[in-house]
Amino acid sequence: MEFAIKYLPLVILLIPLLSFLILSFFGRRLPRQGDWLAVSLLFIDLALSIVVFIAYSTLGKYSYTIDWFDIGSNPFSSPSKFTIGFVIDEISAIMLVVVNTISAFVHLFSVKYMEGDFKYKKYFAYLGFFTFSMLGLVLTNNVLLMYVFWELVGVSSYLLIGFWYEKPAPQEAAKKAFIVNRIGDVGFLLGIMIIFFTIGSFTFTDIFEQVSAGALQGKLLTAAGILLFCGAIGKSAQFPLHVWLPDAMEGPTPVSALIHAATMVAAGVYLTARIFVMLSPDALTFVTFIGTITAFISATIAITQNDIKKVLAYSTISQLGYMIMAIGIGAMAVGFFHLVTHAFFKACLFLTAGSVIYGLHHVQDIREMGGLRRKMPITFYTFLIATLAISGVPLTSGFLSKDSILAATIAFAEINGGITYLVPITAFLVAGLTAFYMFRLLIITFLGEPRNKEKFEHCKESPIQITLPLIVLSGLSIFIFYTPNPLSADAGWFLNLVKTPQSLLVGAKGAIYHIVDKIEFSELVHHAHYPAMALSLLIAGTGILFAYILYHWKKVDVDKITERIKPIYNFSLNKWYFDELYDKTAVALTMVLSRASAWFDNKIVDGMVNGAAYVTKMTSFFSGKFDNFVIDGLVNLTAGIVGFFGLIFRKFQTGKIQTYVMFLVFGIIVLYFIFR
């Protein structure tokens, strides 16, 4: 056991990397391009992470740190040592299992789904690389290293969204995801810088120690918290940076399940949960409202979407907003609980969508589906369980986590009062909307009569490689895995293991936020539990009922309602015009700036270069003239003088002895007269 917790985390981290390396270099030579290797390595990884989890639950928290490098004494930072290390605590141990479970089943699913793709081995290599990065992000105990893995996750997400880069849409989507994430990452990096300059260490334990000692406080602490959270806004697709996630659905569907529903987008929530204790009241207010706004906006968009994956994408954003909101209001444990339950049922939903798309040969528009229940029973029932879970129907995991969050929002509003009552109101409204749009999706896709007869005829249930992950993941959406009591998660192992830590700034008051003691808070939550449950059941039931009335029993003509509320409908269908808004503002501004800088480059910088060239040319022209006339003139003058004398002296060189003799005699006579 001791051994397991010490060394296995590193093994778990490196196995997917191994899969990536083997498939990248030898994939072509392996039988079946090595997919069996990737799948089996991931299942081994899953088994090992369960071992680590068991080891953790008996041995407790384990953290391991080594020195990475030393930058020596310098004026910028007092300590110069950088460390790396991993930590196994309740959050990372659970995340290990979650990430590996979903990754392993997505690998299995992909074997059939991606069959025949000409980049088959590359796909599995990328999946391994992603899993490696995600596990690194989860395991690290160090915010700098987390940033490194954060970016690696972003890169693998980019590669997988743009996996079918022969088509223009995935290219654009991959670029958009990468660039939008970069905006959030800038904030994350700035937050890390603030922490490094004030605290001088990157490890979470050091940071929290110094924050509680008061090394970082006041506005700077708020700024650090909000900036770190900016990373989460990008990665977890929170408003206003949520626009990349729906486009990311251009990637293969299992990728959407793994990355854009269950794991990578949860990284932002994971980060927020990690830094929760150091968030100041104002930062927490920011977090809460971002989460609430996100949950609401994307829920309203999801209602009108017609692409099966787009509905799920917006529902993912909405649920991520829920988790962020839960952490913001101080219920970190239930936020994290929702992350885990959501990871399973949302991965299941995406994989069932993948199964439907596989069965219908790449049809994604729900208006061409319908009646699939008869053709794909397993897919239908797994989808049903996951839909019940996300809608918050009792006996499912989603009910437990969502209900705890709703209770916490009520407690939160009771403490702070005033404008904060918007949070529970929105949360309940979103719960109703979620139930409505998820059942709308279910009814249109699986119930009723087939709309596209031809496609329907050719459709059949997917093979075992696809249905097995569905069954397992939908099974994990049932309450029994988390708690024995189907109505409350409080008695379950999960919430007993993961406890909301006490904020370091307990008692601090912000503009509208008051951080209270966690015991006081949990009592209020407990108090609010049953009213919240009753209300949420009522609202979810209403949502489901409306979905049935409108889409199944067709008591009211949907088109007529749509026609009557056309502006609102279009507003939702066009995703609140966020893309257009960003096109007109941020993108346009960027274009103007880039044009201006291009102009500056072309005219000023190039002008300076050309000017320098012109000056050089002129100088060289004159120095050329100088060379030609003065220097060459001197040389030619010398030569001319020499030549002139040569002309004279050559007269004497006749080549005739007699002349020489004559000169000789003449010379002797002259010498005679001189020396006489």
Partner: protein, 103 residues
């Protein structure tokens, strides 16, 4: 006129040397140049013998002049050989025309 003395010999010798030098310098014909050289040598011989007679050196001057004569003979033989070779090459003994090394 008086008695013939050393200076008479020397004057004769100088005149012959002058003729020889003139012939050496001014003649174009190689044979005539050679004859000029002979004149110069004989002028020297006259000097040698004259000094020998008036300075009481015995027959030293005579001996040297015999050597000179012998040398002159050898020289004449070689020089005539050269001239002959010159003639076979250039079909002339005019020294001005034997100027191929000048160019």
């Amino acid at each position: 006129m008086g008695e013939v003395g050393l200076q008479h010999y020397l004057i004769l010798s100088a005149i012959i040397f002058g003729f020889g030098l003139y012939a050496l310098i001014s003649r174009r014909n190689a044979i005539l140049v050679l004859m000029g050289i002979e004149l110069i040598l004989n002028a020297a011989n006259i000097n040698l013998i004259a000094f020998s007679k008036y300075s009481g050196l015995g027959v030293d001057g005579h001996v040297i002049s015999v050597f000179v004569i012998i040398l002159a003979v050898a020289e004449a033989a070689i020089a005539l050989g050269i001239i002959l070779a010159l003639y076979t090459n250039y079909l002339t003994v005019n020294l001005d025309e034997a100027n191929t090394m000048k160019d």
